[in-house]
């Protein structure tokens, strides 16, 4: 028997496969297709303090091996997530979940973190620092070491569960941002979020997305994500959840070799809703073939 278990801080996962925030809703649609309890965990759609409709349509554009989204954090707000979505998910998924939270100010992050920290089926809090920092002029929190540290410290102060900071890849030096988060007390890191991108409709001569720009994800970004996970893992001591373009079991192995303790699967869910299941089913055989007995042994082995 191949051992697929892995650990994120105090959270033990049956396997490293976690659907990524924003690509799995709150699980109910996917539960029509398969028993979600085979998953390592689930990262829920990013939650903000108040309900958000998000950006205007179109919100989706396509590219070679990728999808660009400008959903803009549509979510029902923290109260509804806590009172409705999370209990609902608890009925179909009997393991701790990852609560992904977002904010447009430090106070909003703190508010959301404090609220989800008390929820029993939340095992880990993932703090998405890729939202534009409205107080600080619109660039994302996640591109600035000090802002990342500030958010991390503030969130740590009000929580007891492991805090994972989800980093933006749209930066010159991912390593120094990762280190800032670590020094500020982050228990782990999630990377990467989407790459800032856009498409133009050559017939209308206008950007395809109503929001003009959006985030690129999918297989296209895998080698960039892998590079960042590799660099960050080498530079920090806290665990890293690796994501970005993972679409097959081989990619999971590669991402773990780069240093990921677990992985998230995003865009691939959209085009193949059974992808997480297929990967989990394929992992033992692949490990066997590669001479891996305990999957967590290979974390950062490259």
């Amino acid at each position: 028997m191949i051992d697929l278990t892995t650990t994120l801080s105090n959270l033990k996962l049956d396997n490293p496969i976690i659907p990524a925030s924003g690509t799995f809703g709150y699980g109910v649609e996917m539960a029509e297709l398969y028993d979600l309890n085979i998953l390592g965990s689930i990262s829920i759609k990013g939650t903000t303090q108040n309900a958000r409709y998000g950006n205007d349509l179109p919100r989706i554009a396509e590219s070679s091996s990728g999808v660009i989204n400008s959903v803009g954090l549509q979510n029902p707000g923290i109260e509804k997530v806590i009172n409705y979505e999370l209990p609902n998910l608890a009925k179909i998924f009997h393991k701790p979940v990852i609560a992904n939270i977002s904010g447009f100010s430090v106070e909003e992050y703190v508010y959301c973190a404090e609220r989800v920290d008390k929820i029993s089926n939340v095992g880990l809090i993932e703090v998405n620092v890729s939202c534009p920092n409205v107080h600080g002029g619109g660039l994302a929190f996640g591109v600035d070491c000090e802002k990342v540290a500030e958010v991390t410290k503030a969130v740590k102060k009000v929580t007891t569960k492991p805090i994972y900071i989800k980093l933006s890849p749209n930066v010159t030096d991912i390593v120094s941002i990762a280190k800032s988060a670590e020094q500020a007390g982050a228990d782990g890191l999630s990377l990467i979020n989407t790459l800032l991108a856009m498409r133009i409709d050559i017939k209308t001569r206008k950007p395809i997305l109503a929001n003009v720009m959006g985030g690129l994800s999918g297989a296209a970004i895998f080698p960039v994500a892998l590079r960042m996970v590799y660099q960050v893992h080498k530079a920090v001591k806290i665990p890293v959840i690796g994501m970005g373009g993972i679409s097959k079991a081989e990619d999971v192995i590669e991402m773990m070799l780069a240093g990921a303790s677990a992985v998230q699967i995003g865009a691939a869910n959209l085009i193949d809703p059974l992808i997480c299941k297929s990967i989990i089913e394929k992992l033992p055989e692949l490990c066997e073939r590669l001479g891996i007995k305990k999957l967590s042994d290979i974390i950062g082995a490259a």
Binding site: E29, R59, E62
Partner: protein
């Protein structure tokens, strides 16, 4: 919803840029006309959504228009080739017990209305059909609707066939309409009818409700075109915002 493999049986040009696409496979997930399927076209990242035009056991008919690279690639595929399809998506039209509804379609919006008309006829309802096209080159399925024993009015923008003008020019005294077509047509039609069901399009990430890529505001919150739609009710639509 299920992820299934279908085999192409026929892929035939039936009007300008318009293909009749018949596939063999398990259609048991399709419950209602107006539902759609999401096709993985080889070489493209996202799936392409197409309304179910008609279906029976083991046979699915779609009609698609070549508008971009994905549909272009689809048009080059041939009988025997297999496709991964997510079947049974969306809500579809609810078959209301209204005696003489209108069915109003435009261009690439016509396909689902055929499956709808057929099923209304099976329920002894006699819809009045209004179909709008740009010109005579683009007309398709008029005879198929007629074969159901229905009265069909065709409009063309340039008058090259049927009535010259828009579908809205021939809608008269319509209490209830089943509608599918481009957004400007839907908006124009809503002003000419008292009630009805309207099928919308949106660029989709997933097609089954998990990504919020297709979410539109409605009077009471929002709906995902892919999961809570594509068919929305007249009364819930925010006509000025959509």
């Amino acid at each position: 919803m299920r992820e299934l493999v279908f085999t192409i049986q026929k892929n035939q040009l039936i009007a300008k840029h318009m293909f009749n696409f018949v596939l063999t496979g398990d259609t048991s997930d399709i419950m209602k006309p107006g539902q759609f399927v999401n096709i993985q076209v080889p070489g493209f990242f996202l799936r392409r959504p197409f309304s179910v035009c008609d279906w029976r056991e083991n046979e699915l008919t779609l009609i698609y228009k070549v508008v971009g690279n994905g549909t272009e690639a689809l048009s080059k595929m041939s009988a025997g080739q297999e496709l991964s399809i997510l079947s049974g998506l969306g809500n579809g039209y609810e078959l209301r017990e209204i005696k003489n509804p209108f069915i109003i379609g435009g261009g690439a919006g016509v396909p689902p209305l055929y499956g709808l008309a057929k099923r209304l006829v099976e329920k002894n309802i006699t819809p009045k059909i209004i179909l709008g096209f740009n010109n005579s080159d683009e007309i398709f399925y008029v005879n198929e609707f007629k074969s159901l024993g229905l009265e069909v009015t065709v409009t063309t923008l340039d008058g090259s066939y049927g009535v010259k003008g828009l579908v809205t020019d021939v809608i008269d005294n319509c209490e209830y309409a089943y509608v599918c077509g481009p957004l400007p047509m839907l908006k124009a039609v809503h002003k000419k009818v008292s009630d009805g069901q309207f099928s919308f399009e949106a660029r989709m990430g997933c097609g089954f409700g998990v990504c919020m890529g297709c979410s539109v505001k409605i009077k009471d919150g929002y709906k995902r075109i892919c999961k809570d739609g594509p068919v929305l009710n007249y009364s819930e639509i925010l006509w000025d915002e959509i």
